[in-house]
């Protein structure tokens, strides 16, 4: 029983990692209907920036804040420079552009900072915690809390602020929005900025756990993609829930189902998601819209 609790807790900790990046994926999807394959690498790159700032002596929370701002600006700039020229092309073209970003950002980070694994300072205390024999760290709790807070802020932003509403309108009804005077192009750029900022938060939360290297986000991206789709690709709440569920399910499958073990747990989890999608084609929290084929 105590083992089970431990596995669930460590699954939640891992799931919160998926959740935080899944959130960024959802934001881009809502803005332009594509999966941004470069999301993880953007998060990795901004995390290196945060690391560089801490090396220069900035306290971690200050570096955190500065990086989120830089990431936002970087996301906006990237959209203006790289995405805008292909904005009107078909979606596959945009997907390939994000793959191009993925590959080049990964190479760039290795070129700048090398491939040696680095420790990233955690913004949380490192002392081990124990409740009822279940061990975890303040880091684990911190990541979950930050994900939930980010989720809350995003929801507020989209529902309560004029800018947030404008962004939603621009994504859903670009033509009508233009008529209403919304600058659709800039809304898209803001969407990228926002996603990139959320990605930076995710990177900084993840790096103390998986450690900093240019490839740190690649496996996380696979899980985040799965989490986002499981939750319903347009739903930020779904992304967070999807991530946590995925983390726990993977741990339980790996630990308690001998036929699956650690070896096939990713495959099994993905299979389960596909089955879930067959029953609920728009994910757990997604609304079924008119199917666009």
């Amino acid at each position: 029983m105590h083992d089970l609790a431990q596995q669930i807790v460590s699954g939640l900790a891992q799931g919160s990692i998926f959740a935080s990046l899944a959130l960024a994926l959802v934001l881009i999807y809502r803005a332009m209907g594509i999966i941004n394959f470069a999301q993880g690498e953007l998060a990795m790159f901004t995390t290196y920036i945060a690391w560089q700032l801490t090396q220069m002596g900035l306290p971690i929370w200050l570096a955190f804040a500065a990086t989120v701002v830089v990431a936002f600006a970087g996301g906006v700039a990237l959209e203006r420079i790289v995405i805008r020229p292909v904005e009107r092309a078909n979606q596959l073209t945009i997907v390939i552009v994000t793959l191009g970003l993925f590959i080049s950002i990964n190479g760039l980070a290795g070129w700048f900072w090398g491939y040696i694994v680095k420790a990233f300072p955690t913004p949380f205390p490192t002392t081990p915690l124990q409740i009822g024999g279940v061990a975890f760290s303040a880091q684990d709790v911190g990541v979950i809390v930050v994900s939930v807070v980010t989720l809350g802020l995003i929801s507020l932003f989209f529902q309560k602020t004029k800018l947030g509403l404008a962004m939603r309108a621009a994504a859903l009804y670009p033509e009508q929005s233009r008529v209403l005077g919304i600058r659709v192009g800039w809304m898209l750029a803001l969407g990228w900025g926002l996603a990139s900022a959320v990605g930076a938060i995710s990177g900084i939360m993840i790096a103390p756990v998986v450690f900093l290297d240019p490839n740190m986000m690649q496996s996380v991206l696979v899980y985040a993609f799965a989490a986002a789709v499981l939750g319903g690709i347009e739903s930020p709440l779904g992304a967070v829930v999807g991530g946590l569920v995925l983390g726990v399910v993977i741990n339980l499958l790996g630990t308690y189902v001998d036929a699956i073990g650690n070896e096939l747990r990713l495959a099994a989890a993905l299979a389960i998601i596909v089955v879930v999608l067959l029953v609920r084609p728009a994910g757990l929290f997604g609304r079924v819209t008119v199917q666009r084929v």
Partner: protein, 340 residues
Amino acid sequence: MPRPNAGLLTRVAIAVAVIAILPWVVPSFLVFDLIYVAAYTIAILGLIILTGMNGQISLGHGAFMALGGYVVAVLAHSAGWPYWIGVPLAAIASGVAGLLIGLVALRLAGVYLALATFSLAVATPSFLKHYKSITGGFDGMSLQPVQAPAGVPLGGQQWLYYVAWAVAGVVFLLSALLVRGQFGRALRALRDNPIAAVSFGVNPYFYKTAAFGWSAVLAGIAGGFYAIPTAYVSPDTFTFALSITLLIGAVLGGISTFWGALVGGIVVEFLPLVAQQINAAAPGVVYGVALILVMMFLPDGIVGGLLRLTYRFRRAPPQPALESSTPSAAPVTVGPQSRE
């Protein structure tokens, strides 16, 4: 689609001639590399039919290549069966798997289908490692290099080159015949306007599943011709990066024309090599930037883009042909649109 006219035949004849002559004019290692181009081309052709013509995104065709490659390898390694039996069986096995996945794909669209197929690609190496007794586990399996049959005055590599390209020729021909008539019209109709297509009596289940199956057949054959020259298969051979590579090849080449498969095959084979010539320290940066630039300036892929330039150059009104693809302004479309 127009009937095959003299022009098309000329083009094909030239392509065949170039392919036939190449082994005698390029160095042996390039002949070897061009076998891989044939494999990529065949697999990308499958993606062009599935994604380009039918609008179903697959991020997992590397998994079908893995299946094909392993069928050939296991039969050769464990049972000593020759490759000429292995490859057709690979095509069948992969086709059956493709039909099954295609049935699942019926329920999923867009990003959900992308995830499902991506999952397939991600999980493939785990399965290959897990079923050790069949696949040889992570050690993989070594294969015998190809020898030309007795009486054929060719080296093993040259022989394999001709066989691979002959097979590529056959699958191009079969695919062309397949998509020329009603089948091709149905695929495109289901992509462009499914509701109208269904109301005109097009059975979406049949056509979409069939498209998936056929594209998997091609990927299975390609997997065979990926494994045979390497003379080795292992889980590391078929990572999800391979699936991504195929998609890149299809879109970069030009996803709405068969010629895009050939160009895409050449690009994904040689671009990484060129990239490391340019910047040996960080080849990824060159490769990635090249992808972005091509997409910025030729959003319809290399073939699509060149066609467009040719039109402009001739100042002729752009005639929508099979090869041209009209980029869609609406962000809701999955896959390119092309008009007949």
